[in-house]
Symmetry: C2
Subunit: 150 residues, 2 copies
DNA sequence: TATTGTTATACTCTATAACTATA
DNA sequence: TATAGTTATAGAGTATAACAATA
């Protein structure tokens, strides 16, 4: 029986995905660090931006940071006065996390700057290719998530 | 003047890329750890597989691991007898890294297993979409690399 | 003097599991 | 008893820069 990973195009696509992934991570992380944030910290700030805040659970779901790790990331952001923690009113087990005023300033500064940085690479792609990539990526992400859940 | 990141399709494509990236990382790393390797360790093993070895410099270039970090990763792999270090014959400044017999066994076991794991997600995509994604990813990676170099 | 790789430092993230307090 | 989040532990990667040996 033919091995599933011998499907035509699989290996090249995979190699390309891995390389693109690495290049993107590098390209993105290098810039994030110039904003004085680590990539997970940036994710948290970006996720909290333009919201009234959320619980640790929600934040962890959106950023894919597990709870134990999230506590540490939030500790460091709280220490820098970028986020605040307060107990949830209706359920005291929950902690409500939100950007402070300083955190909002950071978001307002860092988020567009980072988008702008990334756009330098995306600008090299024609719009149709962007669209094609979008649908392929969405499909692939769905596949990853289904497989992880399975 | 219109902001560059307002290019139509940029934001959705970016969001999708970030999410797909995270999903892929998670999907991949979770499995790699079951093979008793960290993602950087797997990268090193996979890069050395089916070669006669290479210098730290080459290995760092291919895996995108910086030299200081690479030393640590190699230390741990060497301790587990998966890779060997020996001085280069022609240039004693260089260290030649290669898989040991045990490392080759690890490669033979881990690499196909990981491909097989990843193929579970890729199998959900029709071949044409794979092809479309491949070209988009290749283009995008080129863009990242050019921008990083710039 | 330039290059290759190692060492040193300090920090951040990571997985995992036990624990506390609420519900 | 189950859930939300914290604490504890141990390890691994990261950036950065100084360093040794060699070219």
């Amino acid at each position: 029986m033919k091995l599933v990973y011998e499907k035509p195009g699989f290996l090249p696509a995979l190699r390309e995905l891995v390389r693109c992934n690495q290049a993107f991570e590098r390209f993105s992380a290098t810039h994030v660090r110039t904003l004085e944030l680590t990539p997970p910290q940036f994710d948290v700030i970006a996720t909290l931006g333009n919201t009234t805040g959320m619980t640790c659970g929600e934040l962890g779901e959106k950023t894919l940071i597990t709870k134990g790790t999230l506590t540490g990331v939030l500790d460091r952001l709280e220490e820098r006065k970028l986020v605040s923690r307060r107990a949830d009113i209706t359920d005291a087990r929950r902690t409500h996390i939100a950007l402070t005023t300083l955190g909002e300033q950071m978001f307002a500064r860092a988020f567009p700057a980072h988008l702008h940085h990334l756009s330098r690479a995306f600008d090299r792609l024609p719009p149709e290719q962007l669209k094609a990539m979008l649908s392929a990526l969405a499909e692939l992400r769905g596949a990853f998530e289904k497989e992880l859940a399975a």
